[in-house]
Symmetry: C2
Subunit: 337 residues, 2 copies
């Protein structure tokens, strides 16, 4: 039996597809675009079997084709518009169409295909205003006050799938993801099909490292609730396979203090890529590295560990080494493509 991954050519989706392919599983990857060639080559070297189906999440016929490309036992739904302020101001309805109506359409297609288990990627962004208050964010206790349209659609999709799971008797879990760092992030703004408006600072630095050049960092570091992207892929597969889903929502992040991580990542890159230099911007100078938000508080990761025994990598040096290995092997081509 196969797992269907929507958004399989995107940042989260590629990590899920890779985790499945690495475990020798059969995967149907559904996306508007086929996997980028660099990723396709990597995936083809792994023991699993990946079928790629291109189509629009809002096209019921395309979804049905994906559900019939292999015998599907569960879905990991990562397809989304990850919108920034410009896209939200210029085309707000589209963000809702894809992120909420698209999720409804996916559940309808799963129901038609008799597939009962769907894992939906939500986002820590859903906490919204609560992200900038002190204290750990807990799934039920922390008020969910989304500020951006992206975050609003993520919370709306959570509550929607919860309701439809009840009405349609499906098994659904939503994961509020921390901010991913690691393999397979692309600068969406540079791709015609890009629907990911944010490009994280670790990847920005990796880009400069493989190209050779100087990173000029903002004077003040900004930390987020980061999590290694390959861990997110593994966790989503684990939930797709889990014998039961005791909770409807799980925070999914590393749950560790990331203070000083950008400086540490620069040192790792500098040691591996001799052409890479980095310094802090002078007063008045415009940095060429930017942070995509303010610092955020951390999510509690207790529930996912208690229910499913899942713990993400928490050793920052190990994360940096794993990511730097990937940057050296795959990232050289990936970031240039």
């Amino acid at each position: 039996m196969a797992i269907l991954v929507t958004g399989g050519s995107g940042y989260v989706g590629l990590n899920v597809v890779e985790a499945l392919a690495r475990a020798g599983r059969e995967v149907v990857s559904f996306d508007m675009t086929l996997p980028p060639p660099v990723a396709a080559v990597e995936l083809s070297s792994l023991p699993g079997r990946v079928h790629s189906v291109d189509g629009d999440l809002l096209d019921a016929g395309a979804l049905d084709r994906a559900f019939h490309a292999a015998p599907i036992e569960a879905v990991v739904h990562t397809a989304a518009v990850t919108s920034g302020p410009a896209r939200e101001a210029s085309d707000p309805a589209r963000v809702f169409q894809v992120n909420v109506i698209g999720t409804i359409g996916l559940l309808e297609a799963a129901r038609r295909a008799g597939v009962n288990r769907v894992v939906v990627t939500s986002s820590g962004a859903a906490y919204g205003e609560s992200l900038y208050r002190p204290g750990l964010m807990e799934e039920d206790a922390t008020p969910v006050l989304p500020t951006t349209l992206y975050a609003t659609t993520k919370y709306a999709a959570e509550r929607t799938v919860r309701r439809l799971a009840e009405l349609w008797r499906m098994e659904v879990a939503c994961t509020r993801l921390g901010t991913l760092i690691g393999p397979w992030e692309r600068d969406g703004s540079s791709h015609a099909q890009g629907v990911r408006d944010n490009f994280g600072p670790h990847s920005q630095l990796a880009c400069i490292a493989v190209a050779g050049g100087e990173a000029v960092l903002p004077a003040e570091e900004c930390t987020r609730d980061w999590v290694y992207s390959a861990d997110v892929g593994r966790a989503l597969v684990m939930l797709a396979d889990a014998p039961s889903l005791p909770h409807a929502v799980y925070n999914l992040s590393a749950g560790i203090d990331w203070t000083g991580d950008i400086a540490a990542w620069c040192e790792v890159l500098a040691a591996r890529f001799p052409g890479f230099r980095h310094r802090t911007a002078q007063p008045g100078e415009v940095p060429n590295i930017h942070y995509t938000d303010r610092a955020r508080s951390l999510m509690s990761v207790q529930r996912l560990e208690a229910d499913h025994g899942f713990v993400a990598m928490r050793d920052r040096a190990a994360i940096h080494n794993a990511f730097a290995d990937w940057v050296g092997q795959v990232g050289r081509v990936w970031y240039a493509s």
Copy 2:
């Protein structure tokens, strides 16, 4: 200058249009259907001027026609699908299309027309799981955990208009309405164009009272956070006119204990409508009056009073008398039509 009321033929909308017409104002009522004849006759007897424009909220051209039917200074947005479980299970996407994408389209149309002030009707239903916990519900402090799709769309629309107001520099306030009792409620399930699946017990009883007959009540009374519908109309007009909107969200209800209200309302109807009888169902008997939800906790109504000096009617006898007057005069025809 005129006020545009979307959903002007619906329950909340007719109360807003009536409040405006009563105050001698100019109104553009926009709805999929023209106002029901009974309402049109009533409205024509009032000093204001009501222009009716029929069109679909999802049709940008129809919205533009509404904005050009008179010089609009503000919008009261009440158009929505008030969905029950059957509709949510059979056509979930439609609930989102109308309640969220429709709200985005309305704000876009307001922006095109240069109209800056929009008052959006949300619902106490948005509090969801919190409604069934003890304690007053406060706009910011109480976790918003919508359970139904209707409630999810209402919260999503709130956060969406807040975001768009920030991006587009508009003045927007959302009102979380208590459960309306009073004039202009229709049993949506009996109308082809009905998009209101719930029909409250006070109106169910008024229907039986004007037709003459016996109401068989459930053994256990269920109270809600009720508010007189004409008050909701007045409050929404007040917010459309308010010099400023210090908060983005306001609870709007009576904020009083309604224990025993169904029994009291039956007595008022019995005194005025000799053909009306009422009793409690015997064990095993199916009542012909039903409650549309479980008992709910109350919303705090302090913010609306503090910011805008608005207090809804809190004298239950006065509400019953006002509603019974309407039932005797207009309701006789309204409920039969």
